[in-house]
């Protein structure tokens, strides 16, 4: 195999700068929204005491889960020895770090007291999966950074002596990380929609699908900035199959989760709500998560000849479906009332027993989009500063 040569976006064109400008504005608007939320309090959001995690959490979890999966290309190259993916390994590391940074930024800025971040970094309750996740996220950034150094350093990058073991560590770490993120919900006994161990593998499958899906439009955009496509014909079909497998796995675990719940009559209420009577949530599940994010892209990926445009379309559909999925999990799981007295109806001034209304405010949307824009901004800047992109991608 010919020695791989990497490049950066050396001569950014007008499109590149315009794109970067739009992302910077979106990120700044997100930062402003977070400032307003801190100044005025969460009263300016659509969140309530029944729906305490709103749209920012949907974006944050989406970005964090996708970050772990974005490392797929690097893992396939280093861990599974598929040299064809090596040209994309560096970029996949950059995407992984950037998406995680974007997700964490949203998570932190949505805290009631973001000014106390230092408290979260210095005081740990190790019974909390949240505290473990802080280590898992920071560790992931450090490991992927080391992985990038091992691949990109002139001396270290000559062989896979370092990149292979660090690649293994990164691979295992990201499985644990996504398990940790899924467990944030899976270990909640208080709410019927959660409290299911299958959420952890479901999150892993989602991460593989979303990370792969997120990488495809980024590869397309980088190819556009370089003036040459980064996914040649044979790799197009491989990426296509890869995405199809991960989307199918996500659908499988989603079906498993709901079928398991349907088997236990105690969970019939939440399942009836999510699958049949939940209004917007139900529509998001069937149309957004299952249709746009699952069945349609799967059909497109499996039944059509591979082209960059089709792969891109399928990837964007998977990403839209991923957002719908986390909206259904996070918001749907909260708007459905908690069961204090099984089999009884409850009412109170605190809106017990009611389906809680939730409509995200502009500030929440701005913060969520701002986090995504921040991640893409990091990728855009990184790709122009350092040689993350392959020069001879085909083989």
């Amino acid at each position: 195999m010919a020695r791989l040569v990497f490049r950066r976006i050396e001569q950014p064109g007008r499109e590149y700068w315009a794109g970067l400008g739009v992302l910077a504005v979106l990120a700044m608007v997100g930062l402003w929204a977070a400032h307003v939320m801190e100044l005025e309090g969460h009263v300016v959001t659509g969140m309530t005491n029944r729906v305490v995690w709103g749209l920012p959490h949907v974006f944050a979890v989406f970005l964090i889960v996708a970050a772990s999966g974005a490392l797929n290309a690097a893992s396939i190259a280093s861990v599974f020895g598929q040299a064809d993916y090596k040209p994309y390994a560096r970029l996949s590391g950059l995407i992984a770090i950037a998406l995680l940074a974007g997700g964490l930024a949203v998570l932190v800025l949505d805290l009631g007291r973001p000014d106390r971040l230092i408290v979260a970094m210095t005081r740990y309750n190790f019974a909390s999966i949240f505290a473990w996740n802080i280590f898992l996220y920071v560790g992931f950034v450090a490991i992927v950074a080391a992985y990038l150094v091992a691949m990109m350093d002139r001396e270290l990058g000559r062989s896979d002596r370092w990149s292979k073991p660090i690649g293994w560590l990164a691979f295992l770490w990201r499985l644990v990380l996504t398990t940790g993120t899924g467990s944030i919900f899976g270990w909640l006994v208080a709410r019927e929609a959660y409290d299911a161990a299958v959420l952890a593998p479901l999150f892993i499958a989602s991460s593989l699908a979303l990370g792969t899906a997120a990488s495809i439009p980024i590869l397309a955009a980088c190819g556009r900035a370089l003036g040459e496509p980064l996914l040649a014909d044979d790799m197009l079909s491989r990426w296509q199959r890869l995405l199809a497998i991960f989307v199918a796995a996500t659908l499988y675990f989603t079906a498993l989760h709901h079928l398991t719940n349907l088997y236990a009559s105690a969970h019939h209420g939440i399942e009836r709500f999510l699958l049949l009577e939940g209004g917007g949530i139900t529509q998001l599940f069937w149309i957004g998560q299952v249709g746009i994010g699952g069945v349609l892209p799967l059909a497109l990926l499996l039944l059509s000849a591979p082209t960059m445009a089709r792969l891109n379309l399928a990837a964007i559909m998977v990403l839209v479906g991923g957002l719908a999925q986390f909206y259904v999990v996070i918001i749907g799981g909260q708007v459905y009332p908690q069961t204090l007295f099984p089999g009884m109806e409850i009412t109170s001034s605190f809106h017990d027993g009611e389906i809680a209304p939730y409509r995200a405010s502009f500030y929440e949307l701005a913060l969520g989009l701002g986090g995504a824009a921040f991640a893409l901004l990091l990728i855009g800047i990184g790709a122009a500063l350092l040689p993350f992109l392959p020069r001879h991608p085909a083989r």
Binding site: G41, V52, A127, S128, L188
Partner: protein, 243 residues
């Protein structure tokens, strides 16, 4: 007086004496020694409450109003975002339509999920069973609100004016019933229990569940009581009777 002697004396003084005035009407007086500032909270005590739902009057909110006055919450107009430390919860059988109303607040669990999930340790359980939020290290992540099976926690959505010195509150942090820890440490019972005894049906009995001589411990043994969502294994410190 040595520490063990002092503890002995405190145990002797602590307790709730109940005087039956007439059928269905009870007056109970809680008496305890104030805790000295240098005296550690002891795990020998487990503060708890027994609520006789049969004595809760229709539409009675004496406990809720007392808590508002004592701890300085309430008065807002946004029911979905305003904090509620205690609420009157109506439980109705959908088949028979039979209904009861009961006070619902932090159940001060022995195994509190809110404490388990808190990343910084801001949610904590005092040795004597009172579950609290350290307002100085709460980062406002709201994971405890997600984890509480009783919907007992509130997130402070906007600036708080004039908080009480003994009940600090702050925008961007989580709060819930403190069992009036400041009153307990001063040797008094929680404001809700006192108000219920003074102005309502005397449904709320407060005391030390670990002290076999206390009225609450005797009644918990004598009567059939229910703990809400006992199936979750949180072991609440609040029990309900006649539910």
């Amino acid at each position: 007086m040595s520490a063990p002697d002092r503890r002995e004396l405190l145990r002797g003084l602590a307790g709730a004496a109940t005087i039956a005035l007439a059928p269905g009407v009870t007056l109970h007086v809680f008496e305890a020694q104030a805790r000295a500032p240098d005296q550690k909270v002891s795990a020998k005590t487990r503060w708890g409450m027994l609520i006789d739902v049969g004595k809760c009057g229709d539409g009675c909110t004496a406990c809720v109003e007392a808590c508002k006055t004592e701890n300085g919450w309430g008065g807002g107009t946004r029911s979905r975002t305003d904090a509620q430390w205690i609420r009157a919860l109506t439980v109705r059988d959908p088949k028979t339509k039979a209904a009861v109303t009961l006070p619902m607040m932090c159940q001060h669990c022995a195994n509190p999920p809110c404490v388990d999930v808190c990343p910084t340790g801001a949610s904590f359980r005092r040795a004597d069973g009172i579950v609290l939020v350290d307002k100085h290290i709460c980062i406002g992540c709201r994971y405890c609100v997600m984890a509480c099976p009783y919907g007992a926690r509130s997130f402070v959505h906007e600036a708080v004016t004039d908080p009480k010195p003994h009940a600090p509150r702050g925008k961007g942090t989580v709060e819930s019933c403190t069992l009036c820890v400041h009153r307990i440490d001063a040797g008094h019972e929680p404001a809700c229990a006192e108000a219920c005894a003074d102005r309502a049906g005397g449904a709320m009995l407060f005391g030390d569940l670990n002290d076999p001589d206390s009225e609450i411990a005797k009644r918990v043994v004598r009567y059939r009581t229910v703990k809400v969502r006992a199936d979750l294994g949180c072991d609440p410190g609040v029990a309900y009777r006649n539910l």
